[in-house]
Amino acid sequence: MSWRVLRLEGVGKDFTRADGGVAEVLRDVTLTVERGAFFTLLGPSGCGKSTLLNIVAGFEGATTGGASLDDRPVAGPGTDRTVIFQDVSNALFPWMNARENVEFGPKMARLGAVERNERAEKYLRLVGLDADGGKFPFELSGGMKQRIQIARALANDPDILLMDEPFAALDAITKKHLQVEFRKIWSETGKTIFYITHDIFEALLLSTHLAVMTAGPKAGIKEVFQLDLEEPRSPSNPDFAAMYSRVETLIDEEVQRMRAR
């Protein structure tokens, strides 16, 4: 299905709290994500980033406004949008080996065994795990599991990958490798990425666009940047460093504001 932009328009979200009160999480969030972009959301903890991603995924309905691909509103989960979860042990199917996990989407799409297998091999190779297809998730390291989850998502050929802090639980070295590899995968596959992170460095390394959110409750978008940083991106580049401190200042302001309340 061809589309040009992912739109969030006037998105607001309230939750009913366990004590019966209302948590006013998001207010009037409006964003435009161009097809092919690597769009990253940064913001203070608890401001509503995951909530926003869940709305785009179709897991949660917005209280006001909503998400749409061009003019088609998001009405529920769909194969055009696949989420990559941080908690990979629960996200994968532990009773399936790596290959079977990757084949799950093609199987749901009723592809034949041969084609399913080809797809699995292709994407296992893409994430560098072609030799590990027979292993079960419990036999794989955290980084390997996350690669499997990425391969599983790509094997389904979605338009958009929705990623909620996918590398946050990994050790620093594995994380660095995966960031570099994932950026390559993104540029090779041309997928649109909607990405959440707490890590400004990661955001600047990967993204084409970056949105900073205000602190909740009633969180919104504080500022949106298009990143035209010098390639290859590196913290030692002056434009990278300048952008880093600019974003850091914005987030610090929000954290201060949150503390002051």
């Binding site: 995924a57 989420v83 042990s89 996200a91 532990p94 009773w95 989407g105 749901m108 419990f138 979605p158």
Partner: protein, 252 residues
């Protein structure tokens, strides 16, 4: 099994038998705790005159039928309780109440209702095993990680596929634990039921042995319970290992 493990197993069995043997006739009177030799003699005699098979057959038949019934009901109701909010709210309170009533306590009531026939025994065993299966199944179904369900939906699973493709496989370890526990409870249930109201079965054999002063028969009963409990449990584990291994792998 490696050599060291086999050696330790032999030592463990030898010591156990030795303690039994030496305490019989010294610490305890022979008429109360007979020696392994006289129990073995009695066992041979009961095999020879086929008495043993009658008792064993009666108990095993009750266990198989009662357990099977308990498992079916336990899984079905457990799934409903774990998956459907309305079912949970309606079914769980009385069950939480019932789980505190041990099967043995129900025997007098069951005998007044069903008499000493077979139905009452099936009821006791199904009750004992069903409760264990039900609570474990419900816990397993309810504990399916939400993100696993969501991942499946993103990958194209339809809502009606989720139960079979995600919830059930995620719950298998819990369900199988329940089934295995229930097997043990079935043995307890059958003995209790037979001790109070039966004219055949291992429980009856044990109870009757005190009336006719035949302590060796009582110990033959213990021997049967111990070894058949062990055998069925091992069979259960082996079957799971062969058929369900992929569901039992560590979840970490």
């Amino acid at each position: 099994m490696n050599a060291g493990k086999l050696a330790r197993l032999s030592v463990s069995i030898l010591v156990f038998t030795g303690v039994w043997w030496t305490s019989s006739g010294t610490f305890f009177e022979e008429a109360i705790v007979p020696s392994p030799v006289s129990v073995a003699g009695k066992l041979g005699e009961m095999i020879w005159n086929t008495q043993l098979f009658a008792h064993l057959g009666a108990s095993l038949r009750r266990i198989v039928l009662g357990y099977a019934l308990g498992c079916v009901i336990g899984v079905v109701v457990g799934v409903a309780t774990g998956a459907i909010r309305l079912a949970r709210d309606l079914i769980e309170p009385p069950l939480e109440f019932c789980r505190n009533i041990p099967p043995v306590a129900l025997i007098p009531l069951v005998v007044s209702i069903f008499g000493i026939g077979e139905i009452g025994k099936y009821f006791i065993i199904s009750y004992a095993s069903g409760i264990a299966v039900l609570f474990n199944t419900a816990a397993g179904v309810a504990s399916t990680p939400q993100i696993r369900v969501r991942a499946a939906l993103c990958l194209g699973a339809r809502k009606q596929d989720i139960f079979v493709r995600v919830v059930l496989p995620s719950a298998w370890p819990h369900i199988l634990t329940g089934l295995r526990l229930a097997l043990g409870f079935s043995f307890m249930g059958v003995v209790a039921a037979e001790m109070l109201a039966a004219d055949q079965g291992i429980g009856f054999l044990i109870m009757q042995s005190t009336n006719i002063i035949a302590p060796a028969e009582m110990f033959v009963g213990f021997l049967m319970l111990g070894s058949f409990g062990l055998i069925t449990d091992q069979l259960f584990r082996m079957t799971i290992h062969r058929l369900m291994r992929r569901y039992m792998i560590p979840m970490a």
